[in-house]
């Protein structure tokens, strides 16, 4: 199905999905390891007195930040996946195919290895790792001074493999407890979020999303092919660079805080295309909001399925994502 990308259609879709996201968020607030009735949740949200009531602590200090993080990370990963699929003209691309998550993982693990104050700043180290990997893959992926999607993909895959090997080596040098803690992060874990992180993430992710949306028309043309896009007046080199940087930034921000949550960046764009078509003016907002909804729901499952213990959210997206992926494959073939 293709919904024509007019201003009105885009706005309607955004409103509809935002409404769904709001509902999902509210539902997630009421659900958790500790059972709270909706009225308790409501009181907890409004409670401003000191000292705080338990419901207020649970709802405002534990669940609310986590749900907001899930929305931001879900939107970031889904949008990054959409952009990279357009950039590489490959429907199998996901945010991690260019090695950024491996770079972030290595940054976080090195921070743990160094211990002390550095260990406490592991999200910053993870982001630094992501940035360095982005630059490295960019330089490696140039051919004849130009960014070619094929060599970029190759450079990313090679870098990811190499970094994974380094990660395994460093893991072998960590103490057992740190290794087990790292496993959470590697699978994707939304349970650790600070107010500072949220305050940094919100404007950064919003800016990157807006930047990519500004280029959504150019992304449509890029899908025709690099030469064809050039003949239609697109500065292909500049477009590729900007899209690459924005998508990498989104991935880096998401992974630094929550680890490598899988399947989201690959599948949400596909599902979005099935519903609204390939026009990025429709697809980008749909993917962003859809990714937010999916991750909020997945995280809610992760928090409740084996309560009081918690699953890493990456485990939920993998278990849910695999059958969706198989379904999409079969649909494509038939």
């Amino acid at each position: 199905m293709t919904l024509r990308a007019t201003r009105r259609n885009v706005l309607s879709t955004v409103l509809l999905l935002s409404g769904a996201l709001g509902i999902a968020g509210l539902a997630a607030l009421t659900v958790g390891g500790v059972h709270l009735s909706p009225s308790e949740v409501w009181l907890g949200l409004r409670d401003a007195g000191m000292p705080r009531v338990e419901a207020a602590i649970i709802v405002r200090d534990i669940r609310l930040p986590r749900i907001m993080l899930a929305m931001l990370v879900g939107a970031a990963l889904a949008t990054s996946g959409t952009a990279l699929q357009a950039l590489l003209r490959n429907p199998l691309a996901d945010p991690y195919v260019l090695g950024i998550s491996s770079g972030a993982a290595l940054g976080a693990i090195v921070a743990l290895w160094m211990g002390g104050r550095v260990a406490a700043a592991s999200p910053a180290m993870a982001f630094a790792g992501a940035l360095l990997t982005t630059a490295w893959v960019y330089l490696l992926g140039r051919r004849g001074g130009r960014l070619a999607s094929y060599t970029l993909l190759l450079a990313g895959v090679i870098t990811a493999s190499f970094l994974s090997a380094v990660i395994l080596f460093v893991l072998s040098r960590l103490s057992t407890r740190d290794v087990r803690g790292t496993a959470f992060w590697l699978m994707g874990d939304l349970s650790v979020v600070t107010g500072v992180q949220l305050r940094l993430l919100l404007p950064s992710i919003a800016l990157a999303l807006a930047g990519l949306y500004w280029l959504s028309k150019d992304l449509n043309v890029l899908l025709l092919g690099e030469e064809e896009a050039a003949h239609l007046g697109v500065n292909v080199e500049r477009l590729q660079t900007v899209v690459y940087v924005l998508a990498s930034m989104l991935t880096g921000l998401a992974v630094s805080v929550s680890g490598a949550i899988g399947y989201l960046g690959l599948l949400v764009p596909h599902l979005g295309r099935m519903v609204v078509g390939s026009d990025h003016r429709m697809l980008l907002p749909t993917a962003a909001l859809g990714g937010a909804i999916v991750l909020v729901l997945s995280d809610t499952l992760a928090r409740t399925v084996v309560a009081p213990a918690e699953l890493p959210v990456g485990a939920v997206t993998a278990v849910a994502g695999a059958p969706v992926f198989i379904y999409l494959l079969r649909r494509a073939r038939g």
């Binding site: 201003r7 959504s216 028309k217 449509n220 043309v221 025709l224 064809e228 050039a230 007046g233």
Partner: protein, 278 residues
Amino acid sequence: MNEPLTTDGRPRTTESRPGVAGACLRVEGVAFRYLHFELAPTSFEAGAGELVAIIGPNGSGKSTLLELVSGHLKPLSGRICLDGHDLGSLPQRRRAQCVGLARQDAPLLFPFAVREFVRQGRHPHVDRLFESPDDEHWVQWALTKTNLVALAGRPITEISGGEFQRAVLARTLAQRPRLVLLDEPTANLDIGYQIDMLRSLRELAAEEDFVAVIVTHELSLAAEFADYLLLLDGGLCVRQGIPNRVLDSELLSRVFRTPVLVDQNPSSGRPRVTWVMP
């Protein structure tokens, strides 16, 4: 062996219709060099409503010449003038507004609808994020002219090769260019569609006042519909002019390394090329 430009029986539309703002293409001595290939300086002229066909054996430089004419490839020497502007010096977007170049497109993996595909042709003209009703009008026009209205809602991945070819033409037309360049536009079409496409191309060129330059392997079709031919061989334009002058049995046999016979199509009077069996 570049022949001097002659008007030899060829109507000079731009001069014979004064006051009409038709497009005017002037290719002046463009040359190029790849690693193992060299295109000698080539010149020709064409006006609105004219169809120029570049013919020649494989590897003779036809596609290179086409790309040079589009302004996209910078020539080693010489220049391309469209309506008096040097195409090479125009900014990319401005150039895309007046030059439409369609080559054999890469296959698409993403399911755009045909209408969306054709709409991409409006990209150089759209300033904001969304198309205006004017843009939609031209998209519809392009679809009508190429008989694709019935397929407009179909995903581009589900149409035949020939229909895809027409969609590419429609996309190029939607650009409303002054210069239309097509590389092998009839490649996957059956004989009916081949004739259809070239005829409508010529008609459109006249209606909309643009210049059409195509690269083709179909010698007889080129003879039938083109106003002007350029025969390339090994990077050199060995002869150019009206079809009657260029399509000479002995010359063609030499260039294509196989005996051919040029006679006349009884219904149209134009040259017709047939092969000679040993």
